[in-house]
């Protein structure tokens, strides 16, 4: 076994999660490699300290109002249809906008004044997202948005500003650059 592989499996080995064959290979390697053996001791020591941490005990009272709280939240959402719709549609628009940015041609005539702040604020800002949405999806069917939203929810995407930021952060450099250039282009056209 090579040192890199040993380092990779070290945590599993100490936790006893390796199968017999890998565990044997680890033991053989640690017996002859002093660097890895030192890493093993250090990691084992950390896990030992962490393992001595008292168990987290959840008191019953902590969750006594958990279920009623959920129903309250659901009812509250149902009571504010307009805001509720905005909360549902705007995030879906943003994600859909990001996904479809390179497919749809923006209606340049509709670019709002907010575009000017787009580049100044960098594209991560909330205003920039709103502008992006406005540019991209002024005429998207609500049914289509709901389908997109459901699909995204099913895959664990979370609709929050941070979620979009994370999404944009995870775009590769080339895609990000294209997006940025496109926004600059729109700014030039508007100006």
């Amino acid at each position: 076994m090579k040192c890199a592989k040993c380092r990779d499996l070290l945590d599993d080995y100490i936790r006893g999660w390796l199968d017999q064959q890998h565990a044997r290979e680890m033991a053989d390697h640690l017996a002859v490699c002093s660097d890895c053996a030192a890493g093993y001791e250090s990691h084992k020591s950390l896990l030992s300290v962490l393992g001595a941490e008292p168990e987290l005990v959840i008191e019953k009272a902590e969750l006594a109002d958990f279920v009623p709280g959920i129903w309250e939240k659901i009812e509250k959402e149902n009571r504010i249809p307009l805001t509720g719709w905005l909360f549902k549609i705007v995030p879906a628009l943003m994600i859909a906008g990001a996904l479809s940015f390179f497919i749809l041609k923006p209606p340049v005539d509709d670019i709002p004044d907010m575009v000017e702040s787009l580049v100044e604020d960098e594209i991560y800002s909330e205003a920039s997202y709103n502008t992006l949405v406005y540019i991209m999806f002024s005429d998207v069917e609500p049914e289509a948005l709901e389908l997109i939203e459901n699909e995204l929810y099913a895959n664990g995407y979370i609709f929050s500003d941070e979620g979009y930021r994370q999404y944009f952060e995870e775009l590769d450099e080339e895609a990000y650059k294209l997006l940025e250039n496109k926004l600059n282009e729109l700014l030039d056209t508007a100006g």
Partner: protein, 182 residues
């Protein structure tokens, strides 16, 4: 089970209530581990169930209700700690008052250790902290962590490794002295 999940999808609120009661503690625990604030953890855990309820028609029964809500909850918690990085650093001890089931003689040392670990984990950057919680406390394999957090397995390993290196520095005193390692 599939039948019960189908009833949930069809809008049976009683079944939804049962599912919440079954999984609320586990969902709350993992969120609490990440956000380290009981009130916020409860709110986020509830929000995860609300999202599941609201989108029940897009739920695919074969993936499992718990896995689905768990994934939503982990991402809500991660987003929360990212949004509140500064506030987090000040409130990371909120988790510590939870009852400690130990003998009186070593209660003080255990409490001290618990605080030290909580502080050290609490100071990790959001993604490293979430990966660490999923790996260490939830005992998830890297492949599952990667799937839950929508990152690559390599990124999950790298984040865990970085978290471990930081914890070794933060908990250096305990490691060197061999204290409380029973």
């Amino acid at each position: 089970m599939i039948d019960r999940l189908q009833r949930f999808i069809d809008g049976d609120d009683r079944v939804f209530g049962q599912l919440v009661n079954e999984y609320k503690e586990r969902i709350y625990t993992v969120v609490l581990r990440v956000v380290k604030n009981k009130e916020e953890a409860k709110d986020l855990a509830q929000e995860a169930f609300v999202k599941a309820y609201r989108n029940r028609q897009s739920f695919r029964a074969e993936s499992g209700f718990y896995t689905w809500v768990y994934r939503i909850a982990v991402n809500l918690a991660l987003n929360y700690v990212k949004r509140n990085r500064d506030r987090q650093a000040e409130s990371i001890e909120d988790i510590t008052p939870t009852r400690i089931a130990t003998a009186p003689t070593d209660r003080l040392e255990k409490a001290e250790l618990k605080t030290a670990i909580s502080n050290a984990v609490g100071k990790l950057p959001p993604r490293q902290k979430t990966v660490f919680v999923l790996r260490h406390y939830e005992e998830k394999p890297y492949s599952e962590i990667a799937s839950l957090m929508s990152i690559t397995e390599g990124a999950a390993k790298a984040n865990y490794h970085q978290a471990v290196q930081k914890l070794k520095v933060s908990l250096g005193l305990y490691l060197k002295e061999g204290r409380l390692t029973a």
